[in-house]
Symmetry: C2
Subunit: 453 residues, 2 copies
């Protein structure tokens, strides 16, 4: 009797706030552990246990249980480079030469329309799209970053909004000094937030002066925040930087002494081998944006070489004016395929690597590798479930391949960030989608009326 | 009074079998006419009128009306190259070298598993996926083509099944003579079917002997049917053909005298300018399969040059063992982006061109250009509607851009082929999806158990 009682005590289940039971759990841990009939236990904002369903059921009880049978369960996707408010410019000027796109469309439209209100509704629309497609964290670089932070906070998403800093007038600052003041206030106001990491976004080598880059670096060091920058994206950037500084963008920043572990460099299409080593030595992270690079005709980033050099590489959609969506499933599939055709080698960027880029890779690139990117005890509970009921999920031989090559974003069913459910069975819980639609249609009418012929 | 009566008589509406009312109707006619608040009237299997909603409402009445407000209405997509039964091998061997993929996986798996029953269930699964993603016509090249034809007929889809012909033993013929006999019976049995165009599929220059190609050509001429073939897909094909025939695949077929207007050549990745002219002179049609070419590391087909040379070019997904889906929306987006990055020119293959490849281009490539590919009076009523309720459909400035760059296949709501509704508000009407799921899961277990380690 005594012995039996003791055993019962030892196996008495602990209370959890939320249990996901059943389904194929892809942990994305160091060993790429997959639990074919797995479970995840969540306590407050964190994962407390991941493992086989029977083991988790023995150890945990909860009044809130999500049935994940016949689903894939994986870390939420991390979009490491975007300009989310530009959803409102989605499809406004496709199939154009890069300079036409920028000078005839983007710059005049931004000057005319971008305001705090524009950013608010554009970001809300983007958060709707991102939650509905399985993204739980996004990095952003734009204006009125405090508004992006506020919207992300309201919707429950995790975000790394970056305050845009330029040496030309912008919608929220007349010069870089004003931009830096704005940025510092932004960093001070949002420091310590559990889900929002404020950051800096000096736009690029061709729009930000050397001295401004140094000030940005000092500010980032003082507040310990990431510095997002566009780097070596296109041949036109290479030409501009060569004409102005007689070198390449990467070497220019290295010469300025501003390359360090806080720098998150988007694109990095045009790199030579020495530059890849330079980035690796300075612990710069790279964000690969294959669809944007394709659509703007920018080029193909040497991602296999970057990974071989030990660089931290994440994945991003870029802004919806150049992609034209925020769909990380599409981005994974494109990344996996693009490098195969570019190298004529079908073993490059296998499905497992593409999935890692979009989860652990992006998380590490944004400095959040300790908190998110995998399903492991102690990490934040940022989790998505993916239905396998569609015809394209049949048959299924290998879950990473299924996710990367055959899953559309509409298969995402439930989205959890910090233990809070933002979407359940495709029903959004934190956004008024009808209000967003109405307001965005008003913006659409105004913007359409202002488009050049 | 008299005058009034006359007017009433003149404007008395005609009866239609089905009316689609409202929505933005993209006709894809020669002028790319778009009716922003349009309508389509259908009588039996054909479109009888397309135009502004008010005009159609005045002219036609019907007891069956589909409300297409807030939708895009366009011709059904035409998948001009696939191997639909290979859905059952979806994701079985990704990220492999081409020869490993073929010799370690595809050939042994086909030899072991492909039967009439395999083709039946694989094709049913594929039809489910195709209808649910807005494809109304598919071309297929495989074995047991009479089974593919029967499944397409049952489901209501339009199809161009091609009987595979090889000079090696296959699952349905021990040599090319047996394959040709099978093929002739297939052509005879299905000739004159309103939706099924039987065709021939001599696999490639490296699996079909010269004499067999000549017999195929004669048979095709006798029955007036298309000849599908893989052509100049990969560097390994180029090498094999060079070693065997001391020339390129295109020149080899030209030398044999078998290039003519019936030939539908899939892939055509490795062409020089003279070969593009050769194909144009012989009125050969080409089917571009960008995602398969990317995933297998085959290369990038010179589509802009083909179009400039006046070639008829369609779009196809290829088989789900190498793609890994049958999603023509994804294929359009990839086609539009791939050529931009390959040429570093963002004006290549604009959205409008990508949409034309997937509709009129594919229809013309398959010899069905008179019947389908656009919404015009007299053409077959093969129509899809696409919802614009998702966040990625907001805002919308240009419908072709919206369809190609921002629409996922799950936005397809209603699918009509020959005036018959195959899917309405995403409910499939002609397939027992649960029976398909059960049977495909059985195949999955058998195939998974047979996979090499």
């Amino acid at each position: 009797m005594k012995r039996k009682k003791k055993k019962e005590t030892a196996s008495r289940p602990q209370a959890a706030d939320l249990l996901l039971l059943g389904g194929t759990v892809l942990t994305l841990d160091d060993q790429d552990t997959v639990h074919p009939d797995g479970a995840v236990a969540i306590q407050k904002d964190k994962i407390v246990a991941v493992g086989p369903r029977r083991a988790i059921e023995r150890r945990y009880r909860s009044r809130r249980v999500l049935d994940a049978r016949d689903h894939l369960v994986l870390p939420g996707l991390v979009n490491a480079h975007s300009h989310v408010a530009m959803t409102l410019f989605r499809g406004v000027s496709d199939d154009q030469e890069l300079l036409t796109w920028l000078e005839k469309y983007m710059f005049p439209l931004e000057a005319r329309f971008v305001s705090a209100d524009f950013v608010r509704w554009g970001a809300r629309l983007a958060c709707w799209e991102m939650i509905a497609s399985g993204t739980t964290t996004f990095a952003d670089g734009f204006f009125f970053s405090e508004v992006v932070a506020k919207v992300a906070d309201e919707t429950g998403l995790r975000a790394v909004p970056g305050q845009g800093i330029f040496d030309v007038p912008t919608p929220d600052a007349k010069n870089s000094a004003a931009g830096l003041r704005r940025a510092e206030k932004f960093l001070a106001d949002w420091r310590g937030h559990p889900r929002i990491t404020p950051s800096l976004f000096p736009h690029s080598c061709y729009t930000v002066a050397p001295e401004t880059f140094r000030r940005v670096q000092q500010l980032a060091a003082r507040y310990d925040v990431p510095v997002q920058v566009h780097l070596a994206e296109s041949q036109s950037e290479m030409t501009m930087v060569r004409e102005r500084y007689a070198t390449t963008p990467v070497r220019h920043l290295a010469n300025l002494g501003v390359l360090d572990g806080k720098v998150v460099a988007a694109h990095c299409v045009w790199l030579d081998e020495e530059e890849i080593r330079l980035l690796a030595e300075h612990k710069v992270s790279v964000v690969h944006c294959p669809e944007s690079n394709m659509k703007l005709g920018s080029g193909v980033a040497p991602v296999p070489q970057m990974l071989a050099a030990g660089l931290t590489v994440g994945l991003g959609t870029d802004g919806p004016a150049s992609n034209n969506d925020l769909d990380m499933f599409g981005e994974m599939a494109t990344a996996a395929k693009l490098h195969k055709v570019h190298t004529l080698d079908p073993t490059q960027i296998p499905a497992r690597t593409a999935l890692r880029l979009a989860t652990r890779g992006s998380a590490a690139a944004l400095g959040l590798g300790e908190q998110i990117g995998s399903l492991e005890a102690g990490k934040k509970a940022d989790i998505i479930t993916v239905a396998t009921s569609g015809p394209n999920a049949l048959p299924a031989y290998q879950p990473e391949s299924q996710l990367v090559y055959a899953t559309r974003a509409d298969a995402v069913q439930t989205v959890i960030v910090e233990g809070k459910i933002l979407m359940e069975r495709r029903r959004l819980r934190t956004l008024d989608t009808e209000a967003i639609r109405r307001r965005c249609l008003r913006f659409q009418r105004q913007i359409a009326a202002a488009l050049p012929d």
